[in-house]
Amino acid sequence: MSAPRSAASSRAMEEPPVLLARPSDDELTRRLLRPIWVGGPVWRILFLVTGLGSATMLLFVLYTVVAGIGVWGNDIPVGWAYGITNFVWWIGIGHAGTFISAILLLLEQPWRTSINRFAEAMTLFAVMLAGMFPVLHLGRPWFAYWIFPYPATMDVWPQFRSALPWDAAAIATYFTVSFLFWYVGLIPDLATARDCAPTPAKRRLYGLFALGWRGSSTHWSHYRLAYGLLAALATPLVISVHSIVSADFATAQLPGWHSTIFPPYFVAGAIYSGFAMVITLMVPIRRIFRLHEVITTRHLDAVAKMTMATGLIVAYAYVVEYFLAWYGGDPFEHYVFYAERLAGPYAWAVWTVFAINFAVPNLLWVRRIRRSALALFFLSILINVAMWLERFFLIVTSLQRDFLPSSWGLFRPSYIDGAILTGTLFTFAFLFLLFLRFVPFVPIAEVKELRHELEVAEGRAVRG
């Protein structure tokens, strides 16, 4: 009709489609539900391996709790080290899940539909693992509940002027809201699973979790509104969570931490690493379950673009930090940024991070890389490593050499540090495998709705 609209639609034609083939609703439902009815030998083997890995991690966690925090490499002056690095890394990974499901829902991006469910599951599991570290890092994890203001006979309360109770509130809220968002989104698909269940036991089980959903028009209109509200609430929440995490650092007086750029820098870094994790999960899932029809090149391309945008923000934040360390004229700040990080004992980590985080986002300008599943998979692993190392050097370099050279020291991780970090990867994979096996991991109703809308739009285009 009008010029701008036809320009927009011709641009949309250039993009790869969000859905490839158009099987019937029945066929689509059966295909998307298949993984939860039929397991396979591959799943069983992975389940066993990751289950053993998780059990081993629990043993190391138990050992830490029984023997005390001294079994970790943490010592004065580096009291934070792996525990807090892992915490920030995992919680950051969670952020892309909320970003995809909440912010992209509000922005009406059709490509989020196929991948939002498992991105949200990724959020839940990442937050669970992240939450474990501050609790263990307390040294006496059995007193962790002291962080909540419950009426205690001790008559003392948490110190609300500290960033740590903020953290506890932010993470508890983040987990609860992410869970509610994920579960509400899941209800129609649980009802589909109930209605297609092959055995009465499964029918009862899914029926219980579907809460009696009937898909009536009133249900749908309430569902749509509640889901939109949750998205609108989760959007500022996801920004606030990593801002508060960054306040753990920024409220301290240490050179390299005490900076107002931290909240936006941390949020961008979190979403960047989270999108990398989405790619790391999406590429194998698409391959194993042959989901090329619902997770198309368009999804790869869009996720890669998001990774690029947030990665460039992170790279920009590095530059600004270095500029301010020079421009601010503070000798301690200058020392940490220019001498210690670039040439100190952890310079290898700093240079690795800079090399990866300046190069990878810029590689994604190339369309062929953005649309190649294999290339993206390898780049995403590089990003995951770089983002872990970034938090590591950020914590360790500032702590190991502060204002007094007499209190300088080095940090050496113990093997238990490494074992617990590796163990969280196994546990993450374990939880994710359970999710893939028992929950419809591509939103069935949403994919059908998308298909219906595309058909209606195309029908209109054909009819003129």
Binding site: W157, T218, S221, L229
Partner: protein, 173 residues
């Protein structure tokens, strides 16, 4: 008296039936679809849900409770002088009050959603209807209340026939 439940294989046909029945004055209509169909929702002219009010109430309550709790605990119940800083240090209370608002709002939205959908309800007469399990897969259903004052059996059946309903079922209210 049992209501009528018509089964369609096509969302568009269902929407046309709804339009025709509403034109005939029937108001007690309810559609069941495997996904949200904008056309059907528009034809039914559903009232605006009240969930936003529940969410707002939850958010205000959560924010207020978190803020007042921090204020009371720090400034009144156990005043602790830290370097002569003010006891009621409001800016420091903002993050937790904000999280309280989000948590309260989200709980309000979810509770509002469950209450206004009358969920959880594990059994419903509809689940006894043969073939209704396809309402979550690829079939579209329309319940027509027989107690509707504008009920006119011949007319309803005519409309359903014209719009291409596949089958008719009886369903208890």
């Amino acid at each position: 008296m049992a209501d009528l439940l018509a089964e369609f294989s096509d969302a568009h046909a269902l929407a046309k039936a709804v339009e025709a029945l509403r034109a005939a004055g029937l108001r007690d209509l309810e559609a069941f679809t495997p996904f949200e169909v904008g056309e059907v929702q528009a034809a039914l002219a559903l009232p605006r849900p009240r969930i936003p009010r529940a969410a707002l109430a939850g958010a205000v309550l959560g924010c207020g409770a978190a803020f007042l709790l921090q204020w009371w605990l720090t400034a009144w119940n156990y005043p602790l002088n830290v370097g002569g800083r003010p006891l009621a240090s409001f800016p420091a209370f903002v993050p937790i009050a904000f999280e309280g608002a989000i948590l309260g709002g989200a709980l309000g939205a979810v509770i509002g959603f469950l209450v206004s959908c009358r969920l959880p309800r594990l059994w419903h007469p509809l689940f006894e209807v043969e073939g209704f399990e396809r309402a979550s897969v690829d079939r579209f259903f329309l319940r027509i209340g027989r107690r509707d004052p504008a009920w006119d059996q011949a007319r309803v059946l005519h409309v359903l026939h014209e719009s291409g309903a596949l089958r008719l079922h009886e369903v208890e209210r």
